[in-house]
């Protein structure tokens, strides 16, 4: 048994004994499930909605979950896959929708690379992190960010550049 599956087994057992500990499963997998869902949804709101459904369903089913040695992520991806199919079915009632496959090793690698990037964002100096969040999550323009942070547009562009260069270096890019 690998360390990951052993950790998963302990997480499941803990959550089954005390559902309050389900948040540990959530913390461990939310980024991965979100990344999987986000690539298959039209916008951030839909991805957030489906990610919420996945963890709510998992919490509801945790008591009935039977540990069979597979990683917890496989179970969560399966729930996500069905939730995505429901989502697209609602948008195309007459079209046959097949749940998407759970990620293959190539996609998992890509997801893990992006999760590492997001973790590096958390480590950025506060102002740079705020610029990244406002530009990419809140989709604010440079002018809006400048107003929110009470900085000049030129200064915000500099912060944006420094943040991206720092992330590139953290991800193994060259100077």
């Amino acid at each position: 048994m690998t360390q990951t599956t052993e950790d998963d087994r302990l997480l499941i057992e803990a959550a089954q004994a005390d559902p309050a500990r389900f948040v540990e499963i959530y913390e461990r997998y939310v980024d991965r499930i979100y990344a999987f869902v986000r690539r298959r949804t039209e916008n951030r709101a839909a991805a957030e909605d489906i990610t919420s459904q996945v963890f709510e369903q998992a919490l509801g089913a945790i008591g009935r979950f039977k540990w069979r040695g597979a990683p917890v992520s496989a179970w969560l991806f399966r729930i996500a896959s069905n939730a995505l199919a429901d989502h697209w079915r609602e948008r195309a009632r007459d079209v046959q929708v097949t749940p998407p496959d759970v990620p293959d090793p190539g996609e998992l690698e890509d997801i893990d690379r992006r999760i590492a990037l997001y973790q590096h964002v958390e480590q950025l100096p506060e102002l740079q992190r705020q610029v990244i969040q406002m530009r990419f999550v809140e989709e604010k323009s440079i002018r809006e960010v400048a107003t929110a942070l009470d900085r000049s547009e030129g200064a915000v562009k500099q912060l944006q550049l420094r943040a991206l260069e720092s992330l590139r270096k953290s991800m193994g890019g060259h100077d």
């Binding site: 948040v23 939310v30 951030r44 919490l59 990244i132 530009r135 030129g154």
Partner: protein, 318 residues
């Protein structure tokens, strides 16, 4: 073009990426390309606020799940309670669904209290005018019930005195089902799953169905009041046509329709906490939690007339 400052070139690229416009020009600019690739990945950066808010929501619901553990053996968290004026419903259920009475006794109000197993599900039946502690009205309720052969069970129901409400037919939602009203007016949606579209896999043999006005808002109420978890929903024409909600390890289904309110017994670890939570969500008290010979019980009625009784049994064995 490349003489322009990198800050500006990068900013234009970020604008294009966020707006989902073509940003491939950036890949031909050696200075810009590696930054553009990072920027493209950041478009899917999850919102920290979203993650924190979902975590808080899960913590709230996990604490609800934690208290819904003191369930009597053979029961789930949610058990429908059907009030009827006279005896006979148990016989009907035995004849049609091979139901088995597991307990009967004189209730505190003087009527008969019967517990009936149908497949893997439990239904409680209160008989007589004085049952239900005087607060539970006699009224028909609706159920979704899964059987091996919907046509044969439908025929048995008619033979046992039920009124047909809809002949068995293949339904678009993945089941073959026929609808009947039993001699007491309760609706039974008798179904056999047809394929993976069916909700049968997620449900037990019998699941209560609530027809309500304003179903979408009612779902939100049940989330706040009972910690219900929405597992599935289908909206059509601006209305919620179908939703499946999990409450503890039990489930209910609901949808927009002519109201058929019901009464439910919820076995929970802390009836006082759930009672207070339901009141805080807008329900009205029917009976504050008190200790009874069979356990602690309290109850509320919501704005749509559905009644929710919260009980912690004296022992966890039946």
């Amino acid at each position: 073009m490349t003489e322009r400052p990198l800050t500006d070139r990068l900013d234009e690229t970020v604008d294009a990426i966020v707006a989902r416009r073509d940003a491939t020009d950036a890949l031909r600019d050696p200075e810009l390309a590696p930054l553009a690739r990072i920027a493209a990945d950041l478009r899917h950066y999850p919102s920290p606020e979203f993650k924190a808010s979902l975590r808080a929501q899960l913590e709230r619901r996990a604490s609800m799940t934690a208290v819904t553990t003191a369930i009597r053996q053979g029961f789930t968290t949610v058990t429908p309670y059907i009030r009827v004026r006279e005896a006979g419903l148990v016989d009907f259920l035995a004849q049609v669904f091979d139901a088995r009475e597991t307990f009967s006794g004189r209730g505190s109000g003087g009527g008969m209290h019967r517990e009936v197993r149908v497949g893997d599900s439990m239904v409680i039946i209160g008989e007589g005018d004085a049952g239900g502690g005087g607060v539970m009205p006699i009224r028909p309720v609706a159920f979704h019930v899964f059987v091996n052969d919907a046509d044969a069970t439908f025929e048995r129901a008619i033979a046992a005195g039920a009124t047909p409400l809809g002949e068995p037919a293949d339904r678009a939602y993945g089941e073959r089902s026929g609808f009947v009203a039993d001699p007491f007016g309760n609706h039974w949606y008798i179904a056999t799953p047809l394929g993976r579209e069916s909700v049968a896999g997620a449900l037990r043999t019998v699941t209560p169905v609530l027809h309500v006005k304003g179903a979408a808002a009612y779902v939100e109420f049940l989330k706040r009041a009972l910690g219900a978890i929405e597992e599935m929903r289908h909206d059509e024409g601006g209305q919620l046509r179908y939703a499946r909600l999990r409450i503890g390890d039990g489930a209910i289904e609901l949808g927009e329709g002519e109201p058929m309110p019901g009464s439910f017994l919820l076995y929970v670890g802390d009836p006082d906490a759930l009672y207070q939570q339901a009141l805080a969500a807008g329900a009205t008290s029917l009976m504050p939690p008190t200790d009874q010979p069979y356990g602690r019980i309290g109850g509320v009625e919501d704005a749509l007339g559905n009644q929710w009784f919260f009980s912690r049994p004296v022992t966890t064995s039946s």
